[in-house]
Symmetry: C2
Subunit: 203 residues, 2 copies
DNA sequence: TGTGAAATTGACCGAGCGGTCAAGTTGTAC
DNA sequence: GTACAACTTGACCGCTCGGTCAATTTCACA
């Protein structure tokens, strides 16, 4: 490895450096989503950005580390979005509803990321990151389900199981919107919310 | 291409030939699921089966065609399983219930295929096959939803939208079971059915 | 037993991969 | 102006990939 490789997290980047790095990141996401991770070579990426190959390895330790960074950043962004959507709500069912809406909306507006997520489930190298994300996401949801049960708003049941079902609805609908390139309309969001909440009440 | 390549669908295969082909197919599925499609080379496959490289290309025109065949076969098998599960039932809701159970059970017991399906959504070359499968699957389900609406068993709603939600529940739960290597227990199946059917009734 | 199709081998090919690095340029702090 | 770190270049490397093919063996059947 070069003396000052991209390994260290605390690398000093100039303004120009940060811009270059962001450009490489966003372009990689786009190409990975369009062409697939493996079929997109590092040479494709640097050519698309218009720089030499060494630039890629100045900012990222490897192609693999780049995808892992994309996945980690995305999980963080989704959680932040969800949290922002429900932080002011007290009612557990209202929190669930706004969480569902936020998840689907986020997925629909991050179609590229959704494709990378689907791919990442299929290879050991990346699926660990995905499992962690799912565990966190389901735990977040299950907490609200448990609160709803405790308050007698819905019948007793296994909160994790129910949260998994809810994630199924939001994931699939989000995935479909992302793949088809359609936005999350109110009609879609309302249907998803009804399906989940009535499902919970009936369980 | 060789004079008698694998291109023709009506190739005459001896009993030994069919066995060899099946062996290559099943071993490829296993390796693709374990290691990912791209990281698994044709050399890996033939080495695992214990034959020369030419044998692979005697039975399959390309690595890509092999995966497409796996995907097509699997869609057929799933549909056959679903159809067998509900062909004797008249009540649309009972048909939906048994379809849901069959889908999840099939996914849980075909974990390898589920991994390949997830991957295939992420590359243009294969996602066409996936979209077709989803369209067919949702149309199958929507038909029963429409029947239930017509009979007044559930409130009016967009059958395709509702069928998409149901597919979301079955897909996600099936996927989770497959990834974790767990079987589809009655408890899981019951929860999924309740979530879907109560969701429909509330919509 | 002879014959042709089916099946098999594995060395070989051109291409492209992820990644390296010596050399050079740019930016900035004193 | 000078010194040093940040940044950039692109030729190059070793390797593996999907795929080919001439030569050979196996087998079903006449």
């Amino acid at each position: 490895m070069p003396a000052s490789s991209a390994k260290s997290a605390e690398r000093r980047l100039t303004a120009r450096g940060k811009e270059r790095r962001d450009h490489l990141l966003s372009y990689s996401i786009k190409r990975f989503a369009e062409n697939g991770y493996h079929p997109t070579s590092v040479a494709d990426i640097v050519e698309g950005v218009g720089v030499g190959k060494g630039v890629f390895y100045w900012y990222f330790p490897s192609k693999e580390a780049l995808l892992l960074e994309i996945l980690g950043d995305s999980l963080l962004d989704l959680r932040r979005t969800q949290h922002a959507a429900l932080r002011d709500l007290d009612d557990p069912l209202a929190r669930l509803e706004h969480g569902i809406r936020a998840s689907i909306t986020w997925a629909a507006s991050h179609a590229d990321i959704m494709r990378l997520v689907m791919f990442s489930w299929t290879e050991e190298t990346f699926s660990g990151s995905m499992k962690k994300g799912r565990r966190i996401n389901i735990a977040d949801t299950a907490k609200h389900v448990q609160d709803a049960i405790d308050l007698g708003l819905i019948p007793t049941g296994d909160p994790t199981m129910l949260a998994t079902g809810i994630r199924g609805v939001t994931d699939e609908i989000g995935r479909q919107l992302a793949i088809d390139g359609e936005p999350a309309t109110d009609e879609v969001l309302d249907s998803a919310v009804r399906l989940c909440l009535y499902g919970l009440k009936g369980s």
